[in-house]
Symmetry: C2
Subunit: 236 residues, 2 copies
């Protein structure tokens, strides 16, 4: 493999949902970079791929990024990682940056990609797609995301009532990512629209703690897992 | 593995984009069922997984489904396949139905699933998610599908100008599946909205004939490949 950065989607949690390509690249890479959210916590993505790594031969770097949505706070962390990645690639190494799900769908890798393109456009980047939490959650719940002429919307957790209402009216299937913080308000809106029985809540898909909940009323007022999403499909 | 139907997403075309789980199930299954669009054509999905199969031990069934969107025409074909699948599972066999991309996103498997649930609810069905053409096309083109608070819409090729216009206005990223038949009209609409340079056309992603086209104007009036999609991302 020629020197470059591989952004490797490792799927939502189940190590078997890694692709053959991801497994090959992870075994062959010189350097593995894994993001982690807190100084103390082990990288979730690194745990998923642990079985493919050889720490005697490979350099495995865990890099801490605060659990923040403030780009000003995050930027220095991403810049430091971009500099480090660029250094390894320039020295002739292949670097694999592991990311949960898919690198191009609500992944923290996208911040790194932006900085690399701005500052180090000569560094080759190859993206290895991964199974998304959306696809894995739909599989766990047995719910079609789209068939025939149906329309699918995927939205993050930021809650803007009017926009969300319109999307729920206009689309056949709506997936709400990271639903935990806004669940109660979304449930109230679903009830108003008569859709409260069309939703399925999926928590930590692909992990040991995976849970599929169809009785959404039971979740109201609960503290919900951060790694959760909601699929609302009208035609069930 | 206990007797059941596995719906196995085999990814968009590159055999390396199969998951480890899909590969394991395909190697272990007693019966492989592969859809094909015409009596003469070999199944595309079967070609992707050929390296994992053992035709001496496994029963490999190619089943023809007309390239039609007429459910009345398709239904007898799906019913015959459902009956056949149910028979194998009842006889204690594991059956793997292979499907391009992901089984739950615009897959022909969804018709089979509906009939199985109606007629043979006792047949256990397990869905193995696959890399979608959307994810693989975004990776090939290096385009984020969604980051931070962005909203993503995925739509089939049915062209309703007003709905499409509104979706292009409301969403940060819009993926139009199977764009070939309506490309010229979509291009005209993109031009009207000033978005004609924000789109990327991807043909046969993951195959030898993969092509990523950013100069959309060059595609107007051309006969385009059936297995093509268009990603429109406003913030490029």
């Amino acid at each position: 493999m020629s020197p470059r950065l591989y952004a490797v989607g490792v799927g939502p949690g189940d190590p078997e949902l890694l692709t053959l390509k991801a497994a090959r690249i992870l075994r062959a890479a010189d350097v593995i970079v894994a993001p982690t959210g807190q100084a103390e916590a082990a990288s979730y993505a690194l745990g998923i791929v642990a079985g493919h790594l050889d720490r005697d031969r490979q350099l495995v770097l865990e890099r801490v990024f605060p659990m923040s949505r403030d780009e000003e706070e995050l930027r220095p962390h991403w810049e430091a990682t971009a500099l480090e990645v660029a250094g390894h690639v320039r020295a002739g190494r292949t670097v694999a940056f592991v990311t949960i799900g898919d690198p191009l769908l609500y992944s923290t890798f996208l911040y790194l990609l932006r900085i690399l393109r701005e500052r180090y456009p000569e560094i080759a980047v190859e993206i290895v797609p991964g199974i998304t939490s959306v696809g894995a959650a739909a599989a766990a719940a047995g719910i079609p995301l789209g068939m025939a002429a149906e329309r699918l919307a995927i939205l993050p957790a930021t809650y803007e009532e009017e926009k969300l209402r319109q999307t729920l009216l206009d689309f056949d299937c709506v997936v709400l990512m990271k639903i935990s913080r806004v669940f109660d308000r979304v449930y109230a809106l679903l009830t108003e629209l008569g859709l409260e029985r069309q939703g399925v809540f999926v928590r930590r898909v692909g992990s040991d703690q995976e849970e599929v909940v169809t009785d959404l009323a039971a979740l109201v007022g609960q503290k919900l897992d951060y790694l959760s999403l909601l699929i609302v499909r009208k035609n069930r």
